[in-house]
Symmetry: C2
Subunit: 273 residues, 2 copies
Protein backbone atom coordinates (compact mmCIF):
# COMPACT_ATOMS: atom_id res chain seq x y z
CA UNK A 1 0.00 0.00 0.00
CA UNK A 2 1.18 3.50 -0.75
CA UNK A 3 1.44 6.27 1.75
CA UNK A 4 5.04 6.74 2.85
CA UNK A 5 5.84 10.24 3.95
CA UNK A 6 9.60 10.47 4.00
CA UNK A 7 9.53 13.95 5.45
CA UNK A 8 8.45 12.47 8.77
CA UNK A 9 11.16 10.96 10.94
CA UNK A 10 11.82 7.22 11.02
CA UNK A 11 11.13 5.36 14.28
CA UNK A 12 7.89 7.27 14.69
CA UNK A 13 6.59 7.49 18.24
CA UNK A 14 9.14 5.03 19.51
CA UNK A 15 12.24 7.20 19.18
CA UNK A 16 12.47 7.66 22.93
CA UNK A 17 12.61 3.94 23.74
CA UNK A 18 15.09 1.20 22.89
CA UNK A 19 13.73 -0.81 19.98
CA UNK A 20 14.33 -4.55 19.91
CA UNK A 21 17.03 -6.07 17.72
CA UNK A 22 15.88 -8.59 15.11
CA UNK A 23 18.21 -11.61 14.88
CA UNK A 24 17.74 -13.86 11.85
CA UNK A 25 19.46 -17.18 12.49
CA UNK A 26 20.67 -18.94 9.33
CA UNK A 27 18.13 -17.32 7.02
CA UNK A 28 18.07 -19.26 3.77
CA UNK A 29 16.86 -16.77 1.16
CA UNK A 30 18.22 -13.28 0.61
CA UNK A 31 14.76 -12.27 -0.52
CA UNK A 32 13.31 -13.15 2.87
CA UNK A 33 15.97 -11.05 4.58
CA UNK A 34 14.87 -8.16 2.38
CA UNK A 35 11.16 -8.54 3.05
CA UNK A 36 11.91 -8.93 6.77
CA UNK A 37 13.86 -5.64 6.63
CA UNK A 38 10.90 -3.95 4.97
CA UNK A 39 8.54 -5.33 7.64
CA UNK A 40 10.93 -4.12 10.35
CA UNK A 41 11.07 -0.58 9.01
CA UNK A 42 7.28 -0.51 8.61
CA UNK A 43 7.23 -0.55 12.40
CA UNK A 44 10.32 1.53 13.06
CA UNK A 45 12.73 -1.33 13.79
CA UNK A 46 16.13 -0.70 12.26
CA UNK A 47 18.66 -3.06 13.87
CA UNK A 48 19.03 -6.41 12.12
CA UNK A 49 21.60 -9.10 12.92
CA UNK A 50 22.31 -12.12 10.76
CA UNK A 51 23.78 -15.41 11.90
CA UNK A 52 25.36 -17.32 8.98
CA UNK A 53 22.95 -16.36 6.18
CA UNK A 54 23.03 -19.35 3.82
CA UNK A 55 23.45 -17.46 0.56
CA UNK A 56 26.11 -15.05 1.82
CA UNK A 57 26.20 -11.39 2.61
CA UNK A 58 25.80 -8.70 1.31
CA UNK A 59 22.92 -9.88 -0.84
CA UNK A 60 21.56 -8.06 -3.89
CA UNK A 61 18.33 -10.01 -3.54
CA UNK A 62 17.89 -8.83 0.02
CA UNK A 63 18.48 -5.21 -0.96
CA UNK A 64 16.02 -5.40 -3.83
CA UNK A 65 13.32 -7.21 -1.81
CA UNK A 66 13.58 -4.64 0.97
CA UNK A 67 11.68 -2.14 -1.22
CA UNK A 68 13.72 0.75 0.08
CA UNK A 69 14.47 -0.35 3.62
CA UNK A 70 18.09 0.28 2.75
CA UNK A 71 19.12 1.50 6.18
CA UNK A 72 18.13 -1.84 7.70
CA UNK A 73 19.92 -3.93 5.06
CA UNK A 74 23.06 -1.82 4.98
CA UNK A 75 23.21 -1.64 8.77
CA UNK A 76 22.77 -5.40 9.26
CA UNK A 77 25.59 -7.05 11.21
CA UNK A 78 26.94 -10.54 10.62
CA UNK A 79 27.68 -13.10 13.35
CA UNK A 80 29.11 -16.59 13.36
CA UNK A 81 26.98 -17.90 16.24
CA UNK A 82 23.67 -17.04 17.85
CA UNK A 83 25.43 -16.66 21.21
CA UNK A 84 27.67 -13.94 19.72
CA UNK A 85 24.70 -12.24 18.09
CA UNK A 86 22.91 -11.86 21.43
CA UNK A 87 25.98 -11.30 23.61
CA UNK A 88 25.28 -7.62 24.40
CA UNK A 89 21.53 -8.06 24.85
CA UNK A 90 19.79 -8.29 28.20
CA UNK A 91 16.53 -10.00 27.29
CA UNK A 92 16.17 -12.40 24.39
CA UNK A 93 13.03 -13.95 22.96
CA UNK A 94 12.86 -16.97 20.67
CA UNK A 95 10.04 -17.22 18.16
CA UNK A 96 8.70 -20.71 17.55
CA UNK A 97 5.72 -22.35 15.97
CA UNK A 98 6.28 -25.86 17.29
CA UNK A 99 5.89 -26.43 21.00
CA UNK A 100 9.29 -27.29 22.52
CA UNK A 101 10.05 -29.81 25.19
CA UNK A 102 11.51 -27.08 27.36
CA UNK A 103 10.51 -25.48 30.61
CA UNK A 104 10.22 -21.88 29.55
CA UNK A 105 7.77 -19.05 29.66
CA UNK A 106 5.71 -18.84 26.45
CA UNK A 107 4.29 -15.46 25.44
CA UNK A 108 1.82 -14.37 22.79
CA UNK A 109 3.23 -11.79 20.34
CA UNK A 110 0.95 -9.19 21.94
CA UNK A 111 2.26 -9.86 25.43
CA UNK A 112 5.82 -9.90 24.11
CA UNK A 113 5.26 -6.57 22.34
CA UNK A 114 4.05 -5.05 25.58
CA UNK A 115 6.94 -6.50 27.56
CA UNK A 116 9.59 -5.44 25.02
CA UNK A 117 8.08 -1.96 24.99
CA UNK A 118 8.21 -1.76 28.79
CA UNK A 119 11.78 -3.02 28.90
CA UNK A 120 12.78 -0.62 26.15
CA UNK A 121 11.49 2.28 28.20
CA UNK A 122 13.67 1.00 31.05
CA UNK A 123 16.69 0.93 28.67
CA UNK A 124 16.85 -2.87 28.67
CA UNK A 125 18.30 -4.11 25.37
CA UNK A 126 16.01 -6.77 23.91
CA UNK A 127 16.35 -9.02 20.90
CA UNK A 128 14.08 -11.46 19.11
CA UNK A 129 15.43 -14.60 17.43
CA UNK A 130 13.93 -15.99 14.23
CA UNK A 131 14.99 -19.39 12.90
CA UNK A 132 15.67 -20.60 9.36
CA UNK A 133 12.63 -20.71 7.05
CA UNK A 134 12.40 -24.44 6.85
CA UNK A 135 13.32 -25.66 10.32
CA UNK A 136 12.87 -22.89 12.84
CA UNK A 137 15.31 -22.30 15.67
CA UNK A 138 17.37 -25.16 17.06
CA UNK A 139 16.71 -26.16 20.64
CA UNK A 140 20.15 -24.81 21.58
CA UNK A 141 19.21 -21.40 20.20
CA UNK A 142 15.87 -21.49 22.00
CA UNK A 143 17.73 -22.29 25.23
CA UNK A 144 19.63 -18.99 24.85
CA UNK A 145 16.36 -17.09 25.18
CA UNK A 146 14.61 -15.85 28.29
CA UNK A 147 11.19 -16.66 26.89
CA UNK A 148 9.49 -18.11 23.85
CA UNK A 149 7.10 -16.18 21.64
CA UNK A 150 4.56 -18.52 20.03
CA UNK A 151 2.31 -17.35 17.21
CA UNK A 152 -1.37 -18.09 17.50
CA UNK A 153 -2.33 -19.53 14.12
CA UNK A 154 -4.19 -22.20 12.20
CA UNK A 155 -2.64 -25.45 13.50
CA UNK A 156 -3.28 -27.09 10.14
CA UNK A 157 -1.20 -24.46 8.30
CA UNK A 158 1.30 -23.04 10.73
CA UNK A 159 4.17 -22.53 8.30
CA UNK A 160 4.89 -18.82 8.57
CA UNK A 161 6.93 -16.89 6.08
CA UNK A 162 10.00 -15.50 7.88
CA UNK A 163 9.17 -11.87 7.12
CA UNK A 164 5.59 -12.43 8.27
CA UNK A 165 6.85 -13.60 11.66
CA UNK A 166 9.09 -10.54 11.87
CA UNK A 167 6.12 -8.37 10.88
CA UNK A 168 3.88 -9.70 13.66
CA UNK A 169 6.52 -8.94 16.29
CA UNK A 170 7.20 -5.47 14.87
CA UNK A 171 3.49 -4.79 14.63
CA UNK A 172 2.81 -5.80 18.23
CA UNK A 173 5.79 -3.83 19.46
CA UNK A 174 4.69 -0.72 17.56
CA UNK A 175 1.09 -1.13 18.65
CA UNK A 176 1.81 -1.14 22.37
CA UNK A 177 3.14 2.40 22.14
CA UNK A 178 0.70 3.62 19.53
CA UNK A 179 -2.09 5.85 20.69
CA UNK A 180 -4.29 5.72 17.60
CA UNK A 181 -7.89 5.45 18.79
CA UNK A 182 -9.38 2.02 18.15
CA UNK A 183 -12.28 3.65 16.34
CA UNK A 184 -12.60 7.14 15.00
CA UNK A 185 -14.94 8.92 12.66
CA UNK A 186 -12.70 10.94 10.40
CA UNK A 187 -14.50 14.12 9.46
CA UNK A 188 -11.91 16.20 7.70
CA UNK A 189 -12.59 19.90 7.97
CA UNK A 190 -16.19 19.54 9.08
CA UNK A 191 -17.58 18.71 12.53
CA UNK A 192 -20.33 16.45 13.92
CA UNK A 193 -23.78 18.00 13.50
CA UNK A 194 -25.34 19.42 16.64
CA UNK A 195 -28.63 17.92 17.73
CA UNK A 196 -30.23 21.26 16.89
CA UNK A 197 -29.02 20.98 13.27
CA UNK A 198 -30.13 17.37 13.12
CA UNK A 199 -33.59 18.13 14.48
CA UNK A 200 -33.83 21.08 12.10
CA UNK A 201 -33.21 18.61 9.27
CA UNK A 202 -35.72 16.09 10.66
CA UNK A 203 -38.42 18.77 10.86
CA UNK A 204 -37.61 19.98 7.38
CA UNK A 205 -37.84 16.44 6.03
CA UNK A 206 -41.06 15.68 7.89
CA UNK A 207 -42.69 18.94 6.66
CA UNK A 208 -41.93 17.90 3.10
CA UNK A 209 -43.09 14.31 3.72
CA UNK A 210 -46.31 15.67 5.17
CA UNK A 211 -46.68 17.94 2.16
CA UNK A 212 -46.17 15.12 -0.36
CA UNK A 213 -48.48 12.76 1.49
CA UNK A 214 -45.86 10.18 2.48
CA UNK A 215 -46.92 10.54 6.13
CA UNK A 216 -50.63 10.85 5.49
CA UNK A 217 -51.71 7.74 7.51
CA UNK A 218 -52.23 9.45 10.84
CA UNK A 219 -52.00 6.39 13.10
CA UNK A 220 -48.73 5.32 11.45
CA UNK A 221 -47.14 8.74 11.41
CA UNK A 222 -45.44 8.64 14.87
CA UNK A 223 -43.66 5.29 14.29
CA UNK A 224 -42.72 6.23 10.71
CA UNK A 225 -41.20 9.48 11.93
CA UNK A 226 -39.25 7.63 14.62
CA UNK A 227 -37.96 5.06 12.12
CA UNK A 228 -36.84 7.72 9.68
CA UNK A 229 -35.16 9.73 12.43
CA UNK A 230 -33.33 6.60 13.61
CA UNK A 231 -31.87 6.01 10.16
CA UNK A 232 -30.22 9.41 10.16
CA UNK A 233 -29.30 9.35 13.86
CA UNK A 234 -27.30 6.18 13.23
CA UNK A 235 -25.33 7.81 10.45
CA UNK A 236 -23.38 10.10 12.82
CA UNK A 237 -23.90 12.98 10.41
CA UNK A 238 -21.60 15.94 10.14
CA UNK A 239 -22.77 19.51 9.92
CA UNK A 240 -21.85 19.51 6.22
CA UNK A 241 -23.79 16.31 5.59
CA UNK A 242 -26.89 17.74 7.27
CA UNK A 243 -26.71 20.71 4.93
CA UNK A 244 -26.29 18.33 1.99
CA UNK A 245 -29.33 16.31 3.10
CA UNK A 246 -31.43 19.46 3.49
CA UNK A 247 -30.40 20.39 -0.04
CA UNK A 248 -31.45 16.94 -1.27
CA UNK A 249 -34.84 17.21 0.41
CA UNK A 250 -35.37 20.72 -0.93
CA UNK A 251 -34.26 19.61 -4.39
CA UNK A 252 -36.56 16.58 -4.46
CA UNK A 253 -39.48 18.54 -3.04
CA UNK A 254 -39.33 21.23 -5.73
CA UNK A 255 -38.43 18.88 -8.57
CA UNK A 256 -40.49 19.51 -11.75
CA UNK A 257 -41.64 15.83 -11.74
CA UNK A 258 -43.78 16.60 -8.68
CA UNK A 259 -47.11 17.50 -10.34
CA UNK A 260 -48.54 14.23 -8.87
CA UNK A 261 -51.33 14.88 -6.40
CA UNK A 262 -50.05 14.83 -2.82
CA UNK A 263 -52.88 12.43 -2.05
CA UNK A 264 -52.00 10.08 -4.92
CA UNK A 265 -51.96 6.49 -3.65
CA UNK A 266 -48.82 5.49 -5.68
CA UNK A 267 -46.99 7.91 -3.50
CA UNK A 268 -48.02 6.24 -0.26
CA UNK A 269 -46.08 5.18 2.83
CA UNK A 270 -43.83 2.51 1.28
CA UNK A 271 -40.83 1.26 3.06
CA UNK A 272 -40.95 3.40 6.13
CA UNK A 273 -42.67 1.08 8.58
CA UNK B 1 8.79 -21.52 10.63
CA UNK B 2 7.94 -25.15 10.72
CA UNK B 3 5.17 -26.72 12.70
CA UNK B 4 2.20 -27.46 10.46
CA UNK B 5 0.08 -30.31 11.67
CA UNK B 6 -2.12 -31.29 8.76
CA UNK B 7 -4.00 -33.83 10.80
CA UNK B 8 -5.73 -30.99 12.62
CA UNK B 9 -8.65 -29.38 10.82
CA UNK B 10 -8.22 -26.14 8.90
CA UNK B 11 -10.04 -23.06 10.21
CA UNK B 12 -8.97 -23.95 13.74
CA UNK B 13 -11.08 -22.46 16.49
CA UNK B 14 -13.03 -20.31 14.09
CA UNK B 15 -14.96 -23.02 12.30
CA UNK B 16 -18.20 -22.06 14.00
CA UNK B 17 -18.12 -18.45 12.82
CA UNK B 18 -18.22 -16.85 9.38
CA UNK B 19 -14.72 -15.89 8.37
CA UNK B 20 -14.18 -12.69 6.40
CA UNK B 21 -13.62 -12.75 2.66
CA UNK B 22 -10.34 -11.25 1.40
CA UNK B 23 -10.82 -9.14 -1.74
CA UNK B 24 -7.65 -8.19 -3.62
CA UNK B 25 -8.41 -5.35 -5.99
CA UNK B 26 -6.19 -5.27 -9.09
CA UNK B 27 -3.26 -7.07 -7.48
CA UNK B 28 -0.20 -6.59 -9.67
CA UNK B 29 2.03 -9.57 -8.93
CA UNK B 30 0.95 -13.22 -8.91
CA UNK B 31 3.58 -13.82 -6.28
CA UNK B 32 1.87 -11.39 -3.89
CA UNK B 33 -1.43 -13.18 -4.42
CA UNK B 34 0.32 -16.39 -3.43
CA UNK B 35 1.95 -14.99 -0.31
CA UNK B 36 -1.36 -13.36 0.63
CA UNK B 37 -3.05 -16.78 0.30
CA UNK B 38 -0.44 -18.31 2.57
CA UNK B 39 -0.95 -15.52 5.14
CA UNK B 40 -4.71 -16.08 4.95
CA UNK B 41 -4.48 -19.79 5.59
CA UNK B 42 -2.05 -19.20 8.47
CA UNK B 43 -5.03 -17.69 10.23
CA UNK B 44 -7.74 -19.94 8.87
CA UNK B 45 -9.06 -17.61 6.16
CA UNK B 46 -9.90 -19.48 2.98
CA UNK B 47 -12.08 -17.29 0.76
CA UNK B 48 -10.18 -15.06 -1.64
CA UNK B 49 -11.69 -12.87 -4.37
CA UNK B 50 -9.70 -11.17 -7.10
CA UNK B 51 -10.74 -8.08 -9.03
CA UNK B 52 -8.89 -7.84 -12.38
CA UNK B 53 -5.48 -9.29 -11.36
CA UNK B 54 -3.01 -7.54 -13.65
CA UNK B 55 -1.04 -10.60 -14.76
CA UNK B 56 -4.04 -12.82 -15.39
CA UNK B 57 -5.53 -15.82 -13.64
CA UNK B 58 -4.86 -18.65 -12.88
CA UNK B 59 -1.26 -17.84 -12.04
CA UNK B 60 1.54 -20.35 -11.63
CA UNK B 61 3.50 -17.78 -9.64
CA UNK B 62 0.65 -17.36 -7.20
CA UNK B 63 0.34 -21.11 -6.69
CA UNK B 64 4.04 -21.53 -6.12
CA UNK B 65 4.33 -18.54 -3.75
CA UNK B 66 1.42 -19.82 -1.68
CA UNK B 67 3.69 -22.51 -0.17
CA UNK B 68 0.89 -25.02 -0.10
CA UNK B 69 -2.14 -22.81 0.51
CA UNK B 70 -3.61 -24.50 -2.55
CA UNK B 71 -7.19 -24.48 -1.34
CA UNK B 72 -7.11 -20.68 -1.15
CA UNK B 73 -5.57 -20.22 -4.60
CA UNK B 74 -7.72 -22.80 -6.34
CA UNK B 75 -10.87 -21.53 -4.65
CA UNK B 76 -10.22 -17.88 -5.55
CA UNK B 77 -13.00 -16.23 -7.57
CA UNK B 78 -12.53 -13.62 -10.27
CA UNK B 79 -14.58 -10.42 -10.62
CA UNK B 80 -14.65 -7.60 -13.11
CA UNK B 81 -15.47 -4.84 -10.60
CA UNK B 82 -15.09 -4.29 -6.88
CA UNK B 83 -18.83 -3.68 -6.62
CA UNK B 84 -19.49 -7.19 -8.02
CA UNK B 85 -16.89 -8.70 -5.71
CA UNK B 86 -18.64 -7.36 -2.62
CA UNK B 87 -22.22 -7.67 -3.86
CA UNK B 88 -23.24 -10.51 -1.51
CA UNK B 89 -21.40 -9.14 1.54
CA UNK B 90 -23.05 -7.27 4.35
CA UNK B 91 -20.14 -5.40 5.89
CA UNK B 92 -17.12 -4.29 3.92
CA UNK B 93 -13.87 -2.80 5.19
CA UNK B 94 -11.30 -0.94 3.10
CA UNK B 95 -7.65 -1.10 4.12
CA UNK B 96 -5.67 2.07 3.55
CA UNK B 97 -2.38 3.57 4.58
CA UNK B 98 -2.98 7.09 3.37
CA UNK B 99 -5.60 9.16 5.15
CA UNK B 100 -8.52 9.80 2.78
CA UNK B 101 -10.55 12.93 2.41
CA UNK B 102 -13.68 11.00 3.28
CA UNK B 103 -16.06 11.05 6.19
CA UNK B 104 -15.84 7.46 7.35
CA UNK B 105 -15.17 5.49 10.47
CA UNK B 106 -11.51 4.49 10.74
CA UNK B 107 -10.63 1.37 12.74
CA UNK B 108 -7.37 -0.10 13.91
CA UNK B 109 -6.76 -3.66 12.68
CA UNK B 110 -7.31 -4.89 16.25
CA UNK B 111 -10.68 -3.22 16.53
CA UNK B 112 -11.62 -4.44 13.04
CA UNK B 113 -10.61 -8.00 13.99
CA UNK B 114 -12.85 -7.84 17.03
CA UNK B 115 -15.73 -6.38 15.04
CA UNK B 116 -15.42 -8.88 12.19
CA UNK B 117 -15.30 -11.69 14.74
CA UNK B 118 -18.44 -10.43 16.44
CA UNK B 119 -20.27 -10.01 13.14
CA UNK B 120 -19.14 -13.46 12.01
CA UNK B 121 -20.69 -14.98 15.11
CA UNK B 122 -23.91 -13.17 14.16
CA UNK B 123 -23.69 -14.67 10.64
CA UNK B 124 -22.97 -11.32 9.03
CA UNK B 125 -20.87 -11.79 5.88
CA UNK B 126 -17.84 -9.48 6.03
CA UNK B 127 -15.15 -8.71 3.50
CA UNK B 128 -11.92 -6.75 3.55
CA UNK B 129 -10.66 -4.87 0.48
CA UNK B 130 -6.96 -4.57 -0.32
CA UNK B 131 -5.76 -2.27 -3.10
CA UNK B 132 -3.05 -2.71 -5.73
CA UNK B 133 0.52 -2.86 -4.39
CA UNK B 134 1.60 0.47 -5.77
CA UNK B 135 -1.41 2.70 -5.38
CA UNK B 136 -3.78 1.29 -2.78
CA UNK B 137 -7.52 1.35 -3.21
CA UNK B 138 -9.17 4.02 -5.35
CA UNK B 139 -11.43 6.45 -3.57
CA UNK B 140 -14.40 4.89 -5.37
CA UNK B 141 -13.52 1.49 -3.92
CA UNK B 142 -13.08 2.98 -0.46
CA UNK B 143 -16.52 4.56 -0.80
CA UNK B 144 -17.99 1.04 -1.19
CA UNK B 145 -16.83 0.19 2.31
CA UNK B 146 -18.61 0.65 5.62
CA UNK B 147 -15.40 1.56 7.39
CA UNK B 148 -11.69 2.03 6.81
CA UNK B 149 -9.01 -0.05 8.46
CA UNK B 150 -5.80 1.96 8.84
CA UNK B 151 -2.54 0.29 9.83
CA UNK B 152 -0.56 1.86 12.63
CA UNK B 153 2.99 2.04 11.30
CA UNK B 154 6.14 4.07 10.87
CA UNK B 155 4.93 7.15 8.94
CA UNK B 156 8.32 7.47 7.28
CA UNK B 157 8.07 3.96 5.80
CA UNK B 158 4.42 3.08 5.47
CA UNK B 159 4.64 1.07 2.25
CA UNK B 160 3.24 -2.32 3.23
CA UNK B 161 3.67 -5.44 1.23
CA UNK B 162 0.22 -6.64 0.13
CA UNK B 163 0.51 -10.00 1.86
CA UNK B 164 1.72 -8.29 5.03
CA UNK B 165 -1.44 -6.19 5.12
CA UNK B 166 -3.53 -9.33 4.61
CA UNK B 167 -1.54 -11.03 7.37
CA UNK B 168 -2.21 -8.28 9.91
CA UNK B 169 -5.95 -8.51 9.30
CA UNK B 170 -5.95 -12.32 9.47
CA UNK B 171 -3.84 -12.22 12.60
CA UNK B 172 -6.11 -9.77 14.38
CA UNK B 173 -9.18 -11.69 13.32
CA UNK B 174 -7.72 -14.98 14.54
CA UNK B 175 -6.49 -13.41 17.76
CA UNK B 176 -9.86 -12.13 18.88
CA UNK B 177 -11.17 -15.69 19.08
CA UNK B 178 -7.97 -17.25 20.34
CA UNK B 179 -7.82 -18.19 23.98
CA UNK B 180 -4.10 -18.81 24.29
CA UNK B 181 -2.96 -17.35 27.61
CA UNK B 182 -0.86 -14.20 27.17
CA UNK B 183 1.86 -15.74 29.30
CA UNK B 184 2.35 -19.33 30.31
CA UNK B 185 5.17 -21.34 31.83
CA UNK B 186 5.31 -24.50 29.78
CA UNK B 187 6.43 -27.35 32.01
CA UNK B 188 5.98 -30.45 29.92
CA UNK B 189 5.42 -33.55 31.99
CA UNK B 190 6.58 -32.07 35.26
CA UNK B 191 4.72 -29.73 37.65
CA UNK B 192 5.58 -26.63 39.65
CA UNK B 193 7.47 -27.44 42.84
CA UNK B 194 5.51 -27.25 46.06
CA UNK B 195 6.74 -24.81 48.65
CA UNK B 196 7.64 -27.80 50.80
CA UNK B 197 9.96 -29.12 48.09
CA UNK B 198 11.41 -25.67 47.57
CA UNK B 199 12.06 -25.13 51.27
CA UNK B 200 13.54 -28.61 51.48
CA UNK B 201 16.00 -27.56 48.79
CA UNK B 202 16.74 -24.24 50.53
CA UNK B 203 17.52 -26.02 53.78
CA UNK B 204 19.68 -28.56 52.00
CA UNK B 205 21.61 -25.79 50.24
CA UNK B 206 22.00 -23.76 53.41
CA UNK B 207 23.25 -26.79 55.38
CA UNK B 208 25.93 -27.30 52.76
CA UNK B 209 26.77 -23.59 52.64
CA UNK B 210 27.09 -23.60 56.41
CA UNK B 211 29.30 -26.67 56.19
CA UNK B 212 31.63 -25.16 53.58
CA UNK B 213 31.85 -21.86 55.42
CA UNK B 214 30.12 -19.72 52.76
CA UNK B 215 27.65 -18.48 55.44
CA UNK B 216 30.14 -18.20 58.25
CA UNK B 217 29.74 -14.43 58.91
CA UNK B 218 26.96 -14.64 61.49
CA UNK B 219 25.60 -11.09 61.18
CA UNK B 220 25.37 -11.41 57.37
CA UNK B 221 23.84 -14.87 57.33
CA UNK B 222 20.13 -13.86 57.49
CA UNK B 223 20.30 -11.43 54.55
CA UNK B 224 22.49 -13.78 52.51
CA UNK B 225 20.01 -16.61 53.03
CA UNK B 226 17.14 -14.35 51.99
CA UNK B 227 18.97 -13.20 48.87
CA UNK B 228 19.81 -16.75 47.85
CA UNK B 229 16.25 -17.94 48.47
CA UNK B 230 14.94 -15.04 46.36
CA UNK B 231 17.05 -16.08 43.39
CA UNK B 232 15.45 -19.51 43.34
CA UNK B 233 11.97 -18.29 44.24
CA UNK B 234 12.02 -16.06 41.16
CA UNK B 235 12.86 -18.99 38.90
CA UNK B 236 9.41 -20.62 39.22
CA UNK B 237 11.06 -24.00 39.65
CA UNK B 238 9.43 -27.27 38.77
CA UNK B 239 9.55 -30.34 40.94
CA UNK B 240 12.04 -31.89 38.52
CA UNK B 241 14.26 -28.82 38.61
CA UNK B 242 14.30 -28.83 42.40
CA UNK B 243 15.52 -32.41 42.30
CA UNK B 244 18.15 -31.43 39.74
CA UNK B 245 19.31 -28.55 41.94
CA UNK B 246 19.53 -30.82 45.00
CA UNK B 247 21.64 -33.16 42.92
CA UNK B 248 23.89 -30.26 41.92
CA UNK B 249 24.33 -29.18 45.52
CA UNK B 250 25.01 -32.73 46.67
CA UNK B 251 27.43 -33.22 43.79
CA UNK B 252 29.36 -30.03 44.50
CA UNK B 253 29.42 -30.66 48.24
CA UNK B 254 30.95 -34.10 47.88
CA UNK B 255 33.27 -33.20 45.03
CA UNK B 256 36.88 -34.45 45.53
CA UNK B 257 38.18 -30.87 45.15
CA UNK B 258 36.67 -30.05 48.57
CA UNK B 259 39.64 -30.69 50.85
CA UNK B 260 39.85 -26.88 51.45
CA UNK B 261 39.24 -25.97 55.07
CA UNK B 262 35.68 -24.79 55.68
CA UNK B 263 37.22 -21.77 57.40
CA UNK B 264 39.52 -20.92 54.48
CA UNK B 265 39.20 -17.20 53.64
CA UNK B 266 39.37 -17.76 49.82
CA UNK B 267 36.09 -19.52 50.22
CA UNK B 268 34.36 -16.59 51.95
CA UNK B 269 30.98 -14.96 51.34
CA UNK B 270 31.57 -13.57 47.85
CA UNK B 271 28.73 -12.45 45.70
CA UNK B 272 25.84 -13.26 47.95
CA UNK B 273 25.19 -9.87 49.51
Amino acid sequence: MAGTDRSRGTRAHASDVLAPVVVLVEPQLGENIGTAARAMLNFGLTEMRLVRPRDGWPSEKALSASSGAVEVIEGARLFETTAEAVADLETVYATTARPRDMIKTVLTPAEAGTEIGRRGREDVRCGVLFGPERFGLSNDDVALADAIIAFPCNPAFASFNLAMAVLVIGYEWFKQADHTPERELVQGRTRPATKDELIGFFEHLERELDACGFLRVVEKRPSMVRNIRNIFQRAELTEQEVRTLRGIVAGLATHPRRPQSPQSPENGGKGAD
